[in-house]
């Protein structure tokens, strides 16, 4: 691989009262400053959720006419997919410097609904919406139910994921729950039930926020101020749009996306020093740990309880920030860990990081492996 991430930043997080484009601009200008670059260097843009023509609208807002754009809409995993697409575009010479960015003001704008958004022309509007599932929560709840049933796992196994995320958030001054104090398993189990077996404490936050990363060729990256973070591998898998297509809810597309990423990088799960796994819900982390090969099926609860793998070091979507699509912030934290910029939550000597995005209802899966420039 010959492409590196050279800049990474968050926009303001939490409850900002700012616009989507305003938050995007913060993320992008901060990431470019971090990279030692300017907008004049950017000839590629990847983003979603700005407008119907997302990259188009963002490019105009920034006053640039990019040679390459991508607005693949795949929910939270799109940003890991964008890393692959951007690396390919840079390697192919279509563009030289790509900004991948996302921002949402969903908390300020109160734009999130429990039931999700159904488009009247889709099969799901006819065959799923009438039954009133929470979207996406009820799907993850059914996956959790299958997981508990299949492996004899417990709600405590799920809750431990939220407890571990809070421990990390208490080390991250930018986390939404930084000042909230520790969370216990009993707190999670005793929180308001949402869609059984999940309580609201099994679910990610609803916050404003977002971030941006900047990619360019490794050759160019070595002349920039920050140490380059290499794109070592990537893989993706798209499995379902509906709630009834996947036969076994406990086996996700992360199996295929992870295998592809590890094969491309020539690495194994044992090589990963720190993992950033999309934690839309506690169950998402258990399923992803197993699918990516960090442990055997049914053993993710034990792995989380042991704190054996440095995981979701920012505090994750559960306790740090979740702006609707968390994928870009997985990448921002992975980059910072590999640069050694994480202060109290820094994983010592982290050289290989994994970021895994999950979108929709376990619909889209994309894995990225990043490493230091040895």
């Amino acid at each position: 691989m010959t492409v590196a991430i050279v800049g990474a930043a968050e926009c303001d997080l939490g409850s900002t009262g700012l616009s989507i484009l305003g938050l995007q601009t913060q993320a992008i200008t901060r990431a470019l400053a971090d990279a030692g670059l300017s907008l004049a260097d950017v000839d590629g843009i990847a983003t979603t959720s700005v407008a119907r023509f997302s990259a188009t609208s963002l490019a105009e807002h920034l006053g640039i006419q990019p040679a390459w754009t991508d607005s693949t809409f795949a929910g939270g995993s799109a940003y890991e997919m964008f890393v692959a697409r951007a690396a390919q575009a840079i390697e192919a010479g279509q563009c030289h410097t790509v900004v991948i960015s996302y921002a949402s003001n969903q908390r300020s704008a109160k734009s999130r609904s429990l039931g999700g958004v159904y488009e009247a022309h889709t099969p799901e509007a006819q065959f799923e919406q009438p039954y009133g599932p929470l979207y996406p929560a009820s799907y993850y709840a059914m996956a959790a139910g299958q997981y508990l049933h299949k492996y004899g796992a417990s709600r405590e196994d799920l809750a431990e994921v939220a407890v571990a995320a809070r421990e990390q958030a208490l080390l991250n001054p930018r986390a939404f729950r930084y000042d909230a104090g520790p969370l216990t398993v009993d707190d999670v189990l005793g929180a308001k039930p949402l869609s059984t077996p999940l309580t609201v404490a099994d679910c990610c936050l609803v916050t404003d926020g977002g971030g941006a990363i900047v990619l360019t060729s490794l050759e160019r990256a070595r002349d920039l101020p920050k140490p380059p973070v290499l794109v070592l591998g990537y893989g993706e898998s798209t499995t379902n749009a509906s709630m009834t297509a996947v036969d076994d809810l406990t086996v996700t597309g992360a199996v295929a996306s992870g295998a592809a990423a590890f094969a491309r990088a020539g690495l194994t799960p044992a090589d990963v020093d720190v993992a950033q796994l999309y934690d839309s819900f506690t169950i998402t982390v258990l399923l992803s740990l197993e699918a990516l090969g960090f442990c055997a099926p049914g053993e993710a609860g034990d792995l989380v309880r042991s704190r054996g793998l440095p995981l979701n070091t920012s505090g994750g979507g559960l306790s740090y920030c979740h702006p609707g699509q968390f994928g870009v912030l997985l990448l921002v934290e992975a980059v910072r860990q590999l640069r050694g910029e994480c202060g109290d939550r820094q994983v010592a000597d982290a050289e290989v990081a994994l970021a895994h995005g999950t979108g929709g209802i376990l619909s889209t899966h994309a894995t990225v492996l990043l490493g230091v420039d040895r």
């Binding site: 609904s113 429990l114 039931g115 999700g116 159904y118 009247a120 022309h121 099969p123 509007a125 006819q126 065959f127 799923e128 919406q129 009438p130 039954y131 009133g132 599932p133 929470l134 979207y135 009820s138 709840a141 059914m142 996956a143 139910g145 299958q146 049933h149 308001k192 039930p193 949402l194 869609s195 059984t196 077996p197 999940l198 509906s242 709630m243 009834t244 036969d247 809810l249």
Partner: protein, 140 residues
């Protein structure tokens, strides 16, 4: 318990046969006449063999098994009143339907429970298939 919505999105050419059968309280499954593959929702090609000219529907027997379930504790809209059960129901043909399990005891529904179809009327004469638990002797 939940009240059925009174309106559901309009069928299209792929799903019209399925919905028309609901007017007669028949639960049908789309099956490929060539390769025998069963699929849901109905669509305009067979995902088993790719053919577009061999799809038909056959009457299912109205039984199923709970494949996955959740009790929704906070309703997303005015059509539903929590708590109620959202479930994936596996039919004998192998296809999975999303549905509700209509019961006075939503928290008692388990994966593997046998269920049978029941119908809730819609304003346009169609009916929405939901399922009820089948009580077996060992449960009583």
């Amino acid at each position: 318990m939940n009240d059925a919505p009174k309106n559901v999105a309009e069928p299209d050419e792929a799903t019209r046969t399925w919905w028309e059968a609901t007017r007669e309280h028949r639960l049908v499954v789309q099956v490929c006449g060539d390769c025998g593959h069963a699929q849901h929702p109905p669509r305009t090609l067979c995902t088993g063999c790719g053919r577009t000219d061999t799809l038909g529907h056959h009457d299912s027997d109205g039984t199923g098994v709970v494949d996955a379930c959740t009790v929704v504790m906070r309703a997303p809209d005015a059509d539903h009143e929590a708590p109620y059960v959202v479930a994936r129901v596996r039919l004998p043909e192998g296809v999975i339907l999303l549905s509700n399990i209509v019961t006075d005891d939503p928290h008692a529904v388990r994966i593997g429970d046998p269920v049978t179809v029941s119908w809730q009327p819609l304003d346009d004469g169609r009916a929405l298939p939901v399922f009820r638990p089948v009580f077996t002797p060992q449960e009583n």
